[in-house]
Symmetry: none
Subunit: 534 residues, 2 copies
Amino acid sequence: MRPYDPESLHIYDTTLRDGTQQEGLSLSVADKLAVARHLDDLGVGFIEGGWPGSNPKDAEFFRRAQTELNLRGAKLAAFGSTRRASKTAADDPQVAALREAGTPVVCLVAKSDRRHVERALRTTLAENLAMIRDTVEHLRAEGKRVFVDAEHFFDGYRVDEAYGLEVVRTAAEAGAEVVVLCDTNGGMLPTQIGDTVRAVLDASGARLGIHCHDDSGCAVANSLVAVQAGVTHVQGAANGYGERCGNANLFTVVAGLETKLATPVLPAGRLRELVRVSHAIDELTNSAPDTHRPYVGASAFAHKGGLHASAVKIDPDMYQHIDPAVVGNDMRMLVSELAGRATIELKGREFGLDLSDEKEALGRIVELVKEREASGFAYEAAEASFELLLRDEVYGPERYFTLDSWRVIVEQRPDGEVVSEATVKLETRGERHVSTAEGNGPVNALDKALREALAKAYPGLKAVDLTDFKVRILDGQEGSGAITRVLVETTDGQTRWDTIGVDENIIAASWQALQDAVTYGLRRQNEVPDPDAV
Amino acid sequence: MRPYDPESLHIYDTTLRDGTQQEGLSLSVADKLAVARHLDDLGVGFIEGGWPGSNPKDAEFFRRAQTELNLRGAKLAAFGSTRRASKTAADDPQVAALREAGTPVVCLVAKSDRRHVERALRTTLAENLAMIRDTVEHLRAEGKRVFVDAEHFFDGYRVDEAYGLEVVRTAAEAGAEVVVLCDTNGGMLPTQIGDTVRAVLDASGARLGIHCHDDSGCAVANSLVAVQAGVTHVQGAANGYGERCGNANLFTVVAGLETKLATPVLPAGRLRELVRVSHAIDELTNSAPDTHRPYVGASAFAHKGGLHASAVKIDPDMYQHIDPAVVGNDMRMLVSELAGRATIELKGREFGLDLSDEKEALGRIVELVKEREASGFAYEAAEASFELLLRDEVYGPERYFTLDSWRVIVEQRPDGEVVSEATVKLETRGERHVSTAEGNGPVNALDKALREALAKAYPGLKAVDLTDFKVRILDGQEGSGAITRVLVETTDGQTRWDTIGVDENIIAASWQALQDAVTYGLRRQNEVPDPDAV
């Protein structure tokens, strides 16, 4: 076990620069500041804030960062490129922006593939080296710590090893603290990365870093193999954001270093913030969290029940690569047609219910779940509906209203306009309510009508909103008469829950899911069920 | 460059078994058959269809596969476990199901971690070896090719190398053709995989395979490193489906082997089908395609414009790890979208239309497709709708009727019964028709009403049937008001065609798809359009 030292192994986050190259991802300055705070909470060593010489938003970020961002431990870095071929470093406005960004660290991108020097930069190999030397020396003289990103390093090294090495040596001799070998096009495999890192380390003696992209699906592995081969600086982006297939997911790399390679790279105890920080940054970037993401995904430690459930209960370590609590995640048992009593008992525990003495109810629930799943239900995707079913079976049904009838009308009128209207008739707390609502679709109209009918008796429902709606046609070989499964996600602003409905009629399936969503919401608000409701 | 030989390096797909363990993923038997056909089109060597001894759905799959699945090249495998501790292999009903599955190949899972033998299986180490030996020998005697999945191999090998090796040797000596080392918990890193594979290969001399999960974010890298270390059988799942963080993405592995390791593993030319097959399987599993997926993602070769745009155009190879056409993908410029006149001209040729002189129409179509796709259409999944759009633009619209209005009513009556009724009013060939029909759902009712309204003018429509109906909610963060995409599959008994509709209202989207389906069917029957229709 290495001791924790953020300087001996750099964790360098480039979410705010390279990560924002992701298609469709765009952050305001306020968003960028918020992301930086989350990364600092997690405990990364360096946060690259942007390229102040390339756009006004990044320049503003660095201005505001100086007063608004009180980092606990992370050091801020400004990104830029070596001076232009025609200028001195001191006279280059892009370099000036780096000088003035107010950061202790500057990361300079430099060409290291001779083809890019000659064909894209259109200068000589010697001038490119001079550009690197001048710019590094200039910024060092200005008191900056300088890291150099050797762009396209691995591709270039395959074509001209000697030139790649000269770039590394030139940068290091000029005072660059780290030379970062970049797989800019992202096509490398771990064996190539390991071999090249070892060779460059031997030949140059420079301190090396790694920067990977995921175009071959190996970015995380490539980063870890590079550390094993001797680099002491790792770049990546939160949640693997980035252009094309993304940058190396820095969170996966950090978790790998800490849990697999006995290399603490965050302050003690911070790894437990990983799930929270990952999800918080997804929120800020408006990305739907990938539930299958290593370590942090909602499914990352989810086990399908069946045969193994009892074994998982006794020996969770035999079925998990790490203890999920280490990264702030939880083991989840998925309820499915394969579930047995043990799974359901464990699931009950997640809901705060002790079912260890409820043998008979557990047996009934197992049968019910099997039957329902066979007819198209999928409770693993709708835990709120499952919790309602479970409580119904153990404690008896809890109902908040008695439905009389509902009706949905959708029509395209002769003028081409399409309108949706729904009517719900129900009784609750001794009163009958009839509500009609229009919506932009039949389910939206039905949802509105249901809430309106309940609004008087349960005003707290105002805080409850439908946030997602999914439809799946099952066994689609029978035309539009096939079974439809509807999943609804609902929120009260604090938490989200998923409910399900299954019917050959899509509107009837939606109704079931909406009804469960509302019932679950009322339960969460500690509303007392209507004793007369059936 | 190795020559292509599907037997010397097995590409073994487990989408239909291990892939379906993914949370929320559930496939009907018809879906499973369709996925198998796509995998066969791609050219994988082996397709694991399921576990016939564990559930009736998988047993039905193997029954239907024998008559309905005419695989071009792939071999079907049935998955099962070694016999129970108490039974002989011949008497074990689970083994019998494997015998009777009608597949040339059987893949047996065997415990290879002593802790799992002792604590989960609760038998002796010797009995576990006997179970492996007996079951392999029994199935070999029945004429099956047998592969053995050594479950939890890498975790077990760290605890007890000797026992892991004994499992490998026992399986190989009993006649297993390949012993597959499984990283069942998915926590391994490439260096561990490479070292262990080499050691086991040296010590056992057995033919080895690899089966990885992505819990450490290294499944693809681990699979490739294992091949470099000497395994000659690779298991994975389409699009990386699977429990927790998923199985190794077989498509990424295959692309890596072919493009990075000079190892052809698909029949010549098939790699170009990769994008199409990946997306088609996403459609069948109702998964939103991950746009950032290596090789096949819509963003995988998308370059943000700016400084590099012109350089990328001149020297694309300097900015891409491979030529995207090799995997059936395209380079995309995100600022100045490179339009696809050539693609559309080629597509027209597929429909029997020569568009080489239709420069202006092609330009309009490119714009229209861009606009429609941006609003949620996906023409690659609905070629019939695309053909109609193309003909409309080139030859002018062909209409068979003029819609006046439609209306759908769905209601749950006080007695609990749900009924759906639709009315369609239209004019065709100078006559007005008003039809009302009931159905088991709103779309079914609408479909019936539309055909009834057209029945008199076009009696040939009787032969046309709706066979599949799929719904996808796009941009699901706006609740039930999100955009809905409906895909309809229709047949006339000879051929099938797919049409699409997109609207915020699910019924309106369905109407569009139904209208296209009927129009395309009438065109196929060489009906003359109604000259008065608009």
